[in-house]
Subunit: 570 residues, 2 copies
Amino acid sequence: MLKHREETYAAISPPIPDPPKDLPSNVTELPAQLLSKDVVSITESLVEDLLSKLCSGKLTSTAVTTAFLQRAGLAGKLTNCITELLPQRALDRAKSVDTYLTEHGKPIGPLHGLPISVKEHVGMKDLDLNAGFVSWVGRVSPDDALILKLLWRAGAVFYARTTEPQTLMHLETDNNIYGVTTNPYNTALTPGGSSGGEGALLGTRGSCLGIGTDIGGSIRGPAANNGVFGFRPTTYRLPVAGWSATMLGAEHIVAVIGPLSTSLEGCKIFMRTLLEQQPWLIDPSLVQLPWKDSSHKTLLRTDSTGRRKLRVGVLADDGIVRPHPPILRGISTLTSKLRNHPDIETVEFPPYKHDEAWSILSALYFADGAAEEKAAVEASGEPWRPLSKYIIDEYTDTKVRSINEIWQLTEQREAYRAAYTRHWNSIGTSVPGPEAETRGYHEELRALEEKESMVDVILTPTGPGCAPPHDCARYWGYTAQWNLLDYPCMVFPTGLQQEPGVDDVETGYVPRNEHDRYNDELYEPEVYRDAPISLQLVGRRYEDEKVMEALEFLLEAAGMSTVAPRPSNL
Amino acid sequence: MLKHREETYAAISPPIPDPPKDLPSNVTELPAQLLSKDVVSITESLVEDLLSKLCSGKLTSTAVTTAFLQRAGLAGKLTNCITELLPQRALDRAKSVDTYLTEHGKPIGPLHGLPISVKEHVGMKDLDLNAGFVSWVGRVSPDDALILKLLWRAGAVFYARTTEPQTLMHLETDNNIYGVTTNPYNTALTPGGSSGGEGALLGTRGSCLGIGTDIGGSIRGPAANNGVFGFRPTTYRLPVAGWSATMLGAEHIVAVIGPLSTSLEGCKIFMRTLLEQQPWLIDPSLVQLPWKDSSHKTLLRTDSTGRRKLRVGVLADDGIVRPHPPILRGISTLTSKLRNHPDIETVEFPPYKHDEAWSILSALYFADGAAEEKAAVEASGEPWRPLSKYIIDEYTDTKVRSINEIWQLTEQREAYRAAYTRHWNSIGTSVPGPEAETRGYHEELRALEEKESMVDVILTPTGPGCAPPHDCARYWGYTAQWNLLDYPCMVFPTGLQQEPGVDDVETGYVPRNEHDRYNDELYEPEVYRDAPISLQLVGRRYEDEKVMEALEFLLEAAGMSTVAPRPSNL
């Protein structure tokens, strides 16, 4: 596979520049030094700006695709984030899209000619589909995944496939086929996982829009660690048919597919373009819920004077593992900017038994005792990667479950979801929380009367720190919590980065438990230098649109950017 | 329990009349002879008419509730459809609703004072919750089921609880607590099940709106067999929290809750009233999909001239068990009336592997080898009812499944759903069906281009015959098919009834298989005398509103009624 990858690198024209032998720790500024000004300009453009130029013919898809192929190749050499480039099919596609515009005088679709990168385990016709297992190398996808067909129909160009970890169940990215993917901001750190190839590729601007997947944080960790936007939709909104993974029939905890992008708008365009096609007409697993692309006015609450108000719950610490100083700085920087805004209310959102959430997840993740993962790893005799062993043997309560146990655990999951809903509804209202003595008949129905007073979205970390050193991403709580609850989540860069001297260790902290101790001991300011500080905005189930609208609104209100910081100053 | 039931009967005032000793086979006309004119007039009113009078104060809830208590008691004596009446709490509630109207000059909610009957296994605070198992008698519900709280909030009065079969997994209604419930149109026949108590109660007009549940036909069989409307919504639209049953955590095939009513509008009011309350704010299992209460114009297709067209697929025979003559007469009567309507197109909708659908269902229904049902039955030593034994031992492929088997079966279910979608999309279009050789790239996406040409709804039987004799409801295919696909279904009476002489046996028919033979041999015209002929309209997943709108439209187009025929001529 490595040979094949080199061949696809070699087929890129103009050739991918060779990085210098002695790489700096932070490689994000190298591409601007090594690539032509035009290539840098194109590849550091945002989805929305590229589309505007592509649709009007100011840029050809061939030019844009050529630029991204070159920069993705360079990103691959810098961070090992690529499994293969697709110059032939991408340029063929770009050419046909360009021809369409010339012949018809209009774009082929809303994504006219836009290059999109794709995580490897999302199937592409006639290409390898190994999902990070050595024994699966050589499995070939008979067809494109449905999401790719829909994006293609909208005009997209697929040009790069990206790395993922063994088992897909790491919050990092390493496997025995391609090795370890690194973080472009600091190559001693992980880009996160499992969509870490996407994360690192976007971090180096080898892509402006990529496809990741997420069952415990796999879109969000990589987006956060690489300082870009990433969106985990509610389940069954986007089609997953045609991907490859273990445990495909499992419904207890459901994996989703979603975008990473250098702009908030890029994620929104991705969602809108897919849902406007009414994919539920061909994929019956999808909820028939059109994308509500409305203004803030309809999605956000209005008070009695008709004034728009956004109520943001702030959950800075989940009560189990306290985030590192830069994360707490990110939260406090943002909330202090929001606090006095007339259209925004911030309110403390205490965690509700996030440890119980993990114990349910932990029993449900590998409900067959990880039989499928073990079979896939042992079939080739490849070694277990450290985080594969950790997740199965240490971190989760992995056992072969009977069907009755699964039903009981599913009931526990539903009870926890219901309790969390009551918790949410109780904050700032008179609705009784899950632990409250109820004082009368039908009291939880007060939520229906007081919905205008309830929290709209939760602002919370994406992890217990910035991108950790390799093999150290052991705590899933800040992302997996929302998988259990099936809440939509948007990860966004704050524009801040970790800085030793600013984000120093707090002395004398007494850890709460072993996870907290591990995380606390992990933090050494110098190790995390330059790591982006990202946060997460979380909404109620199915309120995907509201999360995006709310994020746009609050970033603007805070005077912060809705686009990721550009690595170069072009 | 029988003693308790008698006590609740005895508490009704004015007293429930005693039926004559020698009951006719068809008891539907008896209540009008035994009850006062006022009681008959109220109880034979439709939901929409009662609400109009209740909300304006023309009728008090006390009067309406008193009338329904009396008629429900009589229905219970005639068909054994009641587990208990609730005179005290119903009349207390009615009184408080009446007081509200007097004091506030406006109704308390959209269901102001309306009596609603409820299947027993839907929990009511402090009342028994036995779900048809002897060993569960004495289990008391700690709270009202969420759906009851929401209906209560809208103004409803709960006054009667209805019977269900042992295991809840019969298409009939008999258990060892209350015995056998009979069909009011012909007491030698079954009212269907598992919501057969509701069916029989509505058939005798002891209720105009009731709550049933459905995992394989349990709302629809009873509605069909008793000549009323019944609606099986898509899963996760209405809240089921607070019911009692075995296999509560199972997600492979999901049971739903829904209405039975003497009018189409009654079912619509039920759905609208619940969904307008935004129940997803308190129940996170629900899809956040508001009720689209629009006119036909937005739900039905328009052609290029802007003309409204409804395309009805007709699936008269599932290819496995041929329906009895009255059912085929029902289908042909209706389709012949529709065929020349300018706004309607009918097209043959061939079945697609309904036997495969059953084999998947059959493996998934009792995935723990029916361990929970066996435990519940064996705990008391009660005898197995014939259809309990049949469903577990004969009709389904009941085994203890491993979690990996469940995942495989779930994948099969998803593949079947996807294939059925392609089948649906292919009818009358150039979209390749599931078996077709595809001739090019991304061909199934044509469905997105040709959606205006696709079938809107499927017209099909509700069962392989009218209400069968007791212990003979053995074929689930015509209803369970749509549970597997999770399609919304509305059952409606055609206004026709089985008539010996009209619906005679066709001679010389060669059965296709054992199920077909059993059904064929079951048909003797005299046995089914007076049984209502009902049909089913089926829509795509989540198109619940469209099914109701389409049914209204096509019944009106055919000159047929959107209300159930009145048993008396008052």
